[in-house]
């Protein structure tokens, strides 16, 4: 960490952003998933004219609305926190990063907020067709919104389509198409939205199963379960595929994150994937850890296969990434962390020399400094790193949360497959064991989603923008107590609102769909 930057300020700023993002992510996946499910139900109503489906869709919409409101509330903070808590970041990459946020608001958020009003208040005021279109456009708007936010996030993981401008001291966009269509964006978008669909499906099945356990609203529950199970199964299968794509991109673009995900300290050829492992807490603090596991179950050569699509290929570990000297896939020898830090410092000094030479009206010196800067710019961010150990993220956190996400994914696959099967052979109502599993396991969808984000974001540390800008250089110049105060302010506000949301949801669920559907209890 740099001398002049207060480490606790950076930690509290990160904490505040993480708090906001994690709270926001409690609500967004349900919006994305439940939104599509209720739109499917309304589409069945539109096609068949069967009032049952209209009332079923309306019940789920009630829950959607309760969840949506708090999602909006937490979302607004995230956008503005880039400015309030990460002011240096906002200038350094605002030329690129601001565009997706603005486009999100103009093209997606307006669509969502306009049509949601029709969706809720328009049942008696617009035609069936217009209402159905509004329901779909609401969820299309929400999904587009997610796309543009994920464009911004993916760019932080894999910055493309930009050039550094030494006169303005910032990165500037040079290729918009590269920004919005990088493979990292595509996989991240698909994986994230699908995880929302899984959450929506688990939510519907969990609540419907509770009704079945209580012997309530059986037709409503069984039909909701059938729709959600098929939807959830499709989403899980595609989610596994997009997860593999995302992990491949991590291996290529963020090898340190991959090493942390696998607690791989010493790399090699034909590396195995740790299916299950328990880390030694003392050992993993040491970057040269030789035997970081108490126990591990490893699938031979699978990590090499997943990371490089070939079983015998080389995957670097934490130590290799710090020491360098191995042959990279592009044919170059990897630099050590210390070499990168040295080059970064040269780049920073050259930029200072360039600007001074410009002020002194010395074009020759400016050009020389610029050449040095340009040559070393790929390592610019490393110049702010004091100790190579700072380049290693929190390995246990990334390792365990990655496994939590994957285990949950495997569970969802099995669960939805059984659920679909029992729904089609009409045995779900009798399978009380599955109803209990559904009820007790739907929080796993939330846990999996949060675990995924924790892996993605903590695995990127210490970078705000991978290899270009460390988080310590991104902050606003505030006091720690300023940020601490707002952290607790948001913690209290969000927690109160979350409790209120859960309370309202529970009431509506307890009241049940019978209030909108004529069905014997």
């Amino acid at each position: 960490m740099l001398d002049g930057i207060n480490e606790s300020l950076v930690d509290w700023s990160r904490g505040q952003f993480a708090l906001t993002a994690l709270y926001h992510w409690i609500f967004v996946p349900l919006t994305l998933g439940l939104g599509v499910i209720q739109a499917i139900m309304e589409t069945i109503y539109y096609k068949t004219g069967n009032e049952f489906w209209k009332k079923t869709a309306k019940f789920w919409m009630k829950l959607f609305g309760i969840n949506f409101a708090i999602g909006v509330a937490t979302g607004i903070i995230l956008e503005f926190e880039f400015g309030t808590n990460w002011s240096n970041y906002s200038w350094f990459v605002g030329d690129i990063f601001g565009a997706p946020l603005a486009i999100e608001a103009i093209l997606a958020f307006f669509m969502e907020s306009t049509f949601i009003a029709i969706m809720f208040f328009g049942w008696e005021k617009v035609s069936k067709r217009f209402h159905l279109a509004a329901t779909w456009l609401t969820i299309v708007g929400a999904t587009l919104s997610a796309y543009w936010i994920l464009v911004a996030n993916a760019w932080m993981q894999y910055p493309v389509g930009m050039e550094f401008n030494p006169d303005t001291v910032r990165n500037e966009m040079s290729d918009f198409f590269a920004l919005i269509s990088s493979p990292v964006v595509i996989y991240k978008f698909i994986h994230t939205v699908l995880s929302g669909w899984v959450t929506g499906a688990m939510f519907v099945i969990g609540i419907s199963s509770w009704y079945l356990l209580k012997h309530r609203a059986s037709e409503f529950s069984l039909k909701s379960i059938k729709v959600a199970s098929i939807f959830g199964l499709i989403a899980t299968v595609l989610s596994l595929w997009s997860g593999d794509g995302s992990a491949y991109e991590v291996a290529q673009k963020q090898p340190m994150k991959l090493a942390a995900m696998e607690a791989l300290y010493e790399g090699g050829e034909g590396v195995g994937l740790v299916g299950f492992g328990i880390l030694k807490p003392d050992e993993v603090k040491d970057m040269t850890a030789k035997n970081p596991f108490y126990y591990k179950f490893e699938i031979p050569q699978l990590l090499s296969l997943l990371a490089n699509r070939q079983m015998d290929t080389y995957v670097p570990g934490v130590r290799n990434l710090l020491d360098g000297g191995y042959l990279q896939r592009d044919g170059n020898i990897a630099l050590s962390a210390e070499e990168k830090i040295e080059k970064g410092k040269i780049a920073i000094q050259a930029l200072a020399d360039y600007r001074q030479a410009k002020k002194d009206n010395n074009p020759e010196l400016a050009q020389t400094a610029l050449n040095i800067f340009t040559y070393n710019y790929p390592y610019f961010g490393y110049g702010y790193i004091k100790d190579p150990a700072e380049l290693v993220p929190n390995v246990p956190m990334v390792f365990y949360f990655f496994r939590i996400m994957v285990y949950c994914g495997c569970f969802f696959l099995a669960f939805f497959a059984i659920s679909v099967l029992l729904s089609f052979i009409k045995k779900y109502e009798a399978a009380r064991w599955l109803q209990w599993i559904a009820l007790l396991s739907f929080p796993l969808a939330y846990i999996a989603g949060h675990a995924g984000w924790i892996v993605a974001e903590t695995g990127r540390q210490p970078w705000a923008i991978q290899d270009i800008l460390p988080v310590g250089v991104s902050v606003s110049r505030l006091t720690t107590s300023d940020v601490k105060t707002t952290f607790f302010m948001f913690l209290i506000v969000f927690t109160v609102l979350l409790i209120a949301e859960i309370g309202i949801m529970v009431k509506v669920i307890k009241k049940g769909p019978e209030t909108v559907i004529d069905e014997s209890i």
């Binding site: 740099l2 001398d3 002049g4 930057i5 609305g65 309760i66 409101a69 509330a73 607004i76 903070i77 956008e79 503005f80 880039f82 400015g83 309030t84 990460w86 002011s87 240096n88 906002s90 200038w91 605002g94 030329d95 690129i96 601001g98 565009a99 946020l101 603005a102 486009i103 608001a105 103009i106 093209l107 958020f109 307006f110 907020s113 306009t114 009003a117 029709i118 809720f120 328009g122 008696e124 005021k125 509004a134 401008n165 303005t168 001291v169 500037e172 966009m173 918009f176 930029l351 200072a352 250089v473 606003s476 505030l478 707002t486 506000v493 209120a500 949301e501 309202i504 529970v506 009431k507």
Partner: protein
Amino acid sequence: MDTYALLQHYWWFVVSLLASLLVFLLFVQGGQTLLFTIGKDKIQQKMLMNSTGRKWEFTFTTLVTFGGAFFASFPLFYSTSFGGAYWLWMLILVCFIIQAVSYEYQSKKGNFIGKRAYQVFLIINGVMAPILLGSAVGMFFTGADFIVNKDHFMDLSMPIISTWTNPWHGLECVFHFWNICLGIAIFFLARVQALLYFINNINDTEMTIRCRKQLIIEMVLFLIFFLVYLVHWVFSEGFAVNPETGAVYMEPYKYLHNLIDMPYLLIIMVIGIIGVVYAMFRTIFSKTWRKGIWFSGFGTVFTVLPILLCAGWNNTAFYPSLENLQSSLTIQNSSSSEFTLKVMAYVTILVPIVLIYIFFAWRALDRHKISEEDVENENNQAY
């Protein structure tokens, strides 16, 4: 004017337009503060709540869009103001957070803090949002305490480029007379517009009469604060920029000069003021006219837009630094690159489509005015 300069001016126009629309849409906040003044029983309050409740998302979305557009087009402002005037923006955000859930949750069972708590949230939002946003905009003309130095990026001991030089981090702006004067003017404007909106949107004779009466008080208060501010603004010293060197200096009557140099802005502003005044007076003197919100809505946008354009166009520093005049932000030194502004300009071509669907959606919902029967019908999912 070269392409880059044209794009910078265009984006200042877009941001100013969004801010103007936001001021208009603050009628939702104004309406929230009038809940107990106009609604004398629970049914009337429910009608009022459902009237603004179907529009609050547009205010909210416009605020988000305003933030996003500012970030994309003038990132140095985003970096300097949001990171510096930290407490001002945090308070604004908190008052919007509590608004977002209040409509949906207040009437639902199990909300655990009670209906009244959410109504208080809406009143807090209704008072704080216009006053704080107005005061924040006031800083465009009165300046703020900050320094920007991009060379700091190469200082390994402290590489942060923007520094707010007082510990209040933006709260000081509400203790500045002219900032708070503008904030209060916007607050009363929001209440005026809310009354005009209720008259248009709600079918209830008793409340309509009450709205027309209340309008007189709100109009007088609005006009006092607005006219005092306007006169001060027109004759105040402004922050001018030398187009050759980029140096910022104080110029007497700068904003008056801007209006004279750009007479079309003066004309638009006069039309806007006439629109608002016409809407207020005709509504007060007529017992049946309900279209005041349209005149006052367009009037508000037409009034605010030229004021904001005067802050950034015609070689003016839109975010002046009182600590170091040369740190002041101009549309030239704080904007995104030409490429980004161009890409974003293409995106704005789609804005008319957005406006068209918003228009049709509003029309579909507003075709049926809010009535007692409407809010009591459970099928309508009323708040």
